[in-house]
Symmetry: C2
Subunit: 341 residues, 2 copies
């Protein structure tokens, strides 16, 4: 049918050379126009831009990154994306990175340090300019790779340990102590605790330790404690509080490992005809939106997760080379009095 040309046009995507040819300048000039770098005459710029539009040219950043040894990539390694806590951090990272031209590349570890090592290795292969990790619990292998790479490293969420480079977050131990102080000031004396897996959520454990420390300083202790094995969830919080109260222990307040669990506890109270605070105090952690929407606003601690992501990304972008000394950025937290404790 066709006249001697059997193969379809299938022309490859335009490259720098195509744009250069079309606009009658050299490749490097096109490159300069596109990157807005170096002195370019208005006339040349216009011609090049025209050719770019005409061809629909999209720069190949793989080639650009390789040639300039600057990938403009930031590796982001988080335990989970479905946990709103990390999703908020990720949003903060995105917000800070978007205007700077950096691209986040994600990895998810499922709360497992060995998986984290695998993820870090594969991200490092993309030659990122920096990497953001959650917490301090890394394998030796991860630490070695990070050290060898010489790139910037932000460890986020927690500041209760010594960072590799910079840590951004809050002191969970201190938050635990402040929860104890707050509840003591409200008159509570018989403390219960309902939590989730400490192996995967080290920070929940730190908060518990802070709580216990402060209680001990006042000659008190946790009188009833339950921890589930899996991750936190509303359903788990509901069932676990039910189990705890069924034992006959009568805490006057229950501290939950986080808001998800605490909201579940609230639901148990509703179902069991208990009035939060009057019958039993409920205290969470994180300051999620849902806690504020409950008939009685959940008493909790606001952890500034969005800010953590934002400041971490900003710190990395602001100083692309690893400083000699480590730093800590404390994003703080605030007690939300609420109405349940």
């Amino acid at each position: 049918m066709s006249v001697g040309r059997s193969a379809p046009p299938q022309r490859a995507l335009p490259v720098l050379a195509d744009v250069a040819r079309l606009s009658g300048v050299s490749e490097i000039t096109v490159s300069r126009v596109i990157r807005n770098k170096g002195p370019i005459s208005a006339k040349t710029r216009e011609r090049v831009l025209h050719a770019v539009a005409e061809t629909g040219y999209v720069p190949n950043r793989l080639a650009g990154a390789l040639a300039s040894a600057d990938s403009m990539l930031v590796g982001v390694v988080l335990p989970s994306v479905t946990n709103i806590v990390f999703a908020d951090v990720l949003r903060g990272i995105h917000e800070a990175l978007a205007p700077s031209g950096y691209q986040p590349v994600m990895g998810v570890t499922g709360y497992d340090a060995d998986e984290e090592e695998r993820v870090v290795r594969s991200l490092l292969a993309w030659q990122p300019a920096a990497i953001i990790l959650a917490g301090f619990e890394h394998t030796e292998g991860t630490r070695r790779m990070l050290a060898a790479s010489r790139i910037r490293v932000a460890e986020v969420m927690d500041i209760d340990d010594k960072p590799i480079d910079v840590a951004v977050g809050l002191s969970h131990r201190s938050a635990g102590r402040d929860i104890a102080r707050y509840l003591l000031s409200r008159g509570y004396r018989r403390f219960g605790y309902v939590g989730h897996d400490w192996d995967s959520d080290h920070r929940a454990r730190l908060r518990f330790e802070g709580l216990v420390d402060e209680l001990a300083a006042q000659g008190l202790a946790v009188v009833a404690e339950r921890r589930i094995v899996g991750p936190s969830s509303t359903l788990a919080g509901r069932e676990t509080l039910a189990g705890l109260l069924a034992t006959g222990e009568r805490p006057d307040v229950v501290v939950f490992s986080n808001d998800d669990m605490a909201v579940g506890g609230y639901f148990h109270c509703l179902a069991a005809g208990l009035e939060p605070r009057r019958d039993v105090g409920l205290f969470g952690f994180n300051g999620l939106e849902i806690g504020a929407a409950l008939p009685l606003r959940l008493s909790t601690v606001r952890s500034n997760r969005f800010l953590i992501g934002k400041l971490a990304a900003e710190a990395l972008v602001a100083r692309p080379d690893r400083p000699d000394d480590t730093a800590i950025i404390n994003t703080g937290y605030e007690i939300e009095a609420g109405e349940t404790a």
Copy 2:
């Protein structure tokens, strides 16, 4: 202090050539060992692997992707990461991609089509093998770029329109109709609706249209309707239901645009002393965990979000070249009867 060597070792990261030298073979042989490609003698492989371990060599995928014209990258463009719905999809994508050697690269649009275009352009610069987008609402510019790129494109969440390449999701229009049928079968006749922004959430509108269509077929209509301008939230659901009921309208059931809003409605009922179902039916959409943890399980529709992400990623990986014809993968949905409607 030091003995004549002032500059620190600062040696660059090892590259293929270093490993080749150390193991006494050529670069290409090392490359073959690492990629497990081509015939290699057991002895050579062992020597190379040893040298890799010794140097701590990490392949530069930027260079690899450029040379092979195969990035093993999948662009993922979603409206939001903090919305659990998209986070679940993302998790499905991750799960499918992880074992295949593909890396997801994310972009977030904030529910804005122009921002989507910008994000798609910058992702395309990384020469991804495929791209995953939410929904069908793209700008002309986005469509042009996607067509020119010739890479595989999955549009996820929705299957109510014609896909560019492959669509993976459920029919929201049909879900809306089934919600109507279900509630009619439960005896409800006076339908209320509490929703959020349709401009950013086109699928919520499709569900509403399906609902209205089916009601019309039965000679019925929505008797009271309220929509907020912003995104869905528990608090918004609570306040909006309160507002709707305060008008004096007395719907016997209220359909919410999603579970977040419906849970908020539930909270209003608790605060106002209304018993869900007996006083007013509540119906959501998505089947979130929290709905199942409420004192009365929320009546809703399970949208298989994890599955959507998983199947989309699998479909793309399974066939790296764009097929001639488009396809639709229906992940379906299930009515969760629950106890609130």
